[in-house]
Amino acid sequence: MNQPRPQWMFSSFLVFFVVHTIQVGVGLPGFQRYVYEPAGNDAWISVILAGISSHISAFFMVKILQRYHSCDLYEIHEHLFGKWLGKAANALYTAYLAMACFIIVINYIDIIQTWLFPTFTSTSLSLILLAVAVYGVLGGIRVIAGFGFISIVLTAWMALLVYFAKPYIQWDQLFPIMDHKLTDILEGARVMSYTLAGFEIVFFIYPYVKEKEKTMRYTHLGLLATTLISLELMVVALLYFEGEQLMKTAWATFTMYKIIQFPFLERFEFLAVSLWMLIIMPNILLYMWASIRGFRRLTGRSQRMGIILVCILILGLSNVFTTRMRIDQLDSVFNQITFFIAFLYPILLYPLVLFKTRTKPDQSATVPAAQGGEAD
């Protein structure tokens, strides 16, 4: 594909914000107990391991992209697998992205209904979220990346709030270190994939990045920021809650916010829950934008068609998944899918890309980049 027009492109430092904002979403409020379940008090090691593996996957992902000049994953698929198989892979990936969008919407609705408005219907809530999302997606990738930047600037301070848990912290609860089997800790790291997934968005925004050689650096910085924040929230939760108590806490991060009291604001977590919309909105935007591009490439129909289709799907399904049990089941299925797609897939794809780009260059849509000599 030819370079997108310059006015559609954005500076490479925004990649940091895009990667970080899409990773931080509905996972962080409540990932602690899922990791604690297999790994116990060693859950923080699982978080570090998961963070490291996200760096490895992202490394291969950017390496794949650097083999091509300016292509997104849809074009790479067609180059690698040919027309029909490539279309099939694209269809699967589009479905995955739309599903991610849906998962975020229903999980956030669940949070709102639990913490703020128990009687608010799912339909009206998803209508509100989708109305904003559609507006943003129509604005294009520059608007979305900019919104990701604002979202982080406005909400990053919330990571410091766990300071208020300090009087209740008990360091003993971290010990003994490595008391669990390595397999248990690895299982905990696998569960983290739901929380850390999202960086696969780089596969789609890559053509729009201005200084492409800096993508690698900013992607890793974004991943590092997310890993550090998840590590912080995990460790504080381990120190603040006793194990069994943590297992009973659906959103450990918000429950920790419950201890915060200001003279002018009695209950802080209500503000946190509302502000969380700023955090999840870029995720909805990015996933929706990427899945609609897939839809357009598959069917050749207009972007508008895709948006309407995705919105109708989300609206309809959000009424099916209204109980916590169903959402939990869907989350655990999605967790396994993200583990494969975000973490394993780039690594599996890389050898194939190497093989394909080493043979005679395909003259049609995809042009392999100059071999070697690339800065990362």
């Binding site: 639990t114 913490w115 408005f117 009687t119 608010f120 219907t121 009206s124 809530l125 209508l127 509100i128 109305a131 904003v132 559609v134 507006y135 129509l138 009087p167 209740y168 008990q170 003993d172 609860q173 971290l174 010990f175 003994p176 008391d179 809650f241 006793e242 194990g243 069994e244 108590q245 429950t255 419950k258 201890i259 009291q261 009695e266 209950r267």
Partner: protein, 378 residues
């Protein structure tokens, strides 16, 4: 795209949002009764009596406090019934204190505490107290000098906890200690003495059942052992052995009483042996002398040294007494089990296991006290 379609889209989006926001029911503050304190009393046949104290928002009301009470099988059930007695909707977002009467506490209060934690409206900082006598008697009494008994109890708890006089027993503390395999909750007791309310004893729990009470001065030592201690004052009886007291009071030949103010302290609890568990408790305290009933030459360094040793001995005795008491009742409010769990690999400690081990545990206490200063005079 044309500016017209953009305008249309913007209008559509912004019109939808206010329309949809109206789906939520509004709650004006004049129509709410803010619950400040709740109390639960034991009744036979698994029933409980619930009492609540409300903020009165209505400025024309004669009484500042409204107290409602009712009986039901569950706490939320009793709240529903109270709602029927009230002209305003009862909400629990401002709840500060929960009282449970002793009889109820001796049977177990986990389900009643759990319902507070389950409610998203209730913060984790709600204070749990045990009512000696009936909670109804404390909450419904008309105190001439206390405006709102709920707020009073909250302030009383808060200032005593920040002043390190009693142990902290917020909702989070209680549940944490209940779920911890090697720890048990400890909760201050409230008594009404005529028109006053006292926080005077500490109820010790075995799991969620209260088993005994210890005097509130023990919470100084309990806090020392828990290691979440910063500063506090304690009155100690000191052996006069080896001290050159200038004038002994009549009838007080061997002891003197002194008050020390703990400036900072560090407690290290180490597990030395596993079967039976042997603990070594090392307390390093920096304190200043506030008051002493016998005159001792404090300008002489060796006298201060001796006083330090005697004070440390006195503290060691008190700690050992406390440990004997908690071992006798087989409750672990100090969290020795947590230390055991943190030091032993693969212990898989459970409450039951720790109950069997704790009475056999051995303790060795070393207290080192440094008198930093003795006030503005020697």
């Amino acid at each position: 795209m044309t500016s017209r379609s953009r305008l249309f889209r913007l209008t559509a989006v912004f019109l939808t949002i206010p329309l949809l926001c109206a789906c939520v029911r509004g709650v004006p503050i004049e129509k709410m009764g803010l619950i400040v304190a709740v109390g639960y009393d034991y009744l036979p046949n698994h029933k409980i009596m619930g009492t609540t104290t409300l903020y009165q928002i209505d400025p024309n009301a004669k009484e500042k406090v409204t107290v409602l009470s009712n009986t039901a099988y569950t706490s939320k059930g009793s709240r529903n019934k109270m709602n029927q007695e009230s002209s305003v909707t009862l909400v629990s977002g401002q709840l500060r204190v929960a009282l449970y009467d002793e009889k109820l506490a001796r049977q177990g209060i986990l389900n009643l505490v759990d319902t507070l934690a389950r409610d998203k409206d209730i913060g984790s900082g709600v204070y749990i107290n045990i009512a000696k006598g009936r909670a109804l008697g404390i909450l419904s009494h008309r105190y001439p000098e206390i405006g709102n008994i709920g707020t009073f109890l909250y302030n009383q708890n808060e200032q005593n906890i920040t002043g390190e006089q009693i142990i902290s027993s917020t909702l989070h503390d209680f549940l944490h200690d209940y779920y911890a395999p090697g720890q048990d909750p400890a909760v201050p007791c409230v008594t009404r003495v005529d028109n006053e309310v006292h926080l005077d004893e500490i109820a010790l729990f075995q799991g969620d059942r209260m088993v005994t009470k210890i005097p509130s001065r023990s919470s100084f030592f309990l806090k020392l052992l828990r290691g979440r201690f910063h500063a506090g004052m304690i009155e100690l009886a000191v052996d006069l052995d080896g001290l050159e007291a200038q004038q002994k009071r009549k009838g007080e030949s061997k002891h003197t009483h002194s008050v020390i103010d703990n400036i900072s302290s560090k407690t290290k609890i180490r597990l030395k042996g596993q079967n039976p568990p042997r603990f070594h408790i090392q307390v390093d305290m920096y304190a200043r002398l506030q008051e002493i009933t016998s005159e001792i030459e404090l300008s002489k360094p060796e006298q201060v040294k001796k006083l330090e040793v005697q004070l440390a001995k006195s503290i060691t005795n008190e700690i050992e007494n406390l440990i004997r008491t908690i071992q006798k009742y087989n409750v672990d409010p100090a969290g020795f089990g947590q230390k055991y769990k943190a030091s032993v690999r693969g212990s898989n400690l459970t409450k039951d296991k720790w109950r069997k081990m704790f009475p056999k545990a051995q303790f060795q206490t070393d207290v080192k006290l440094t008198l930093v200063r003795t006030g503005v005079t020697d």
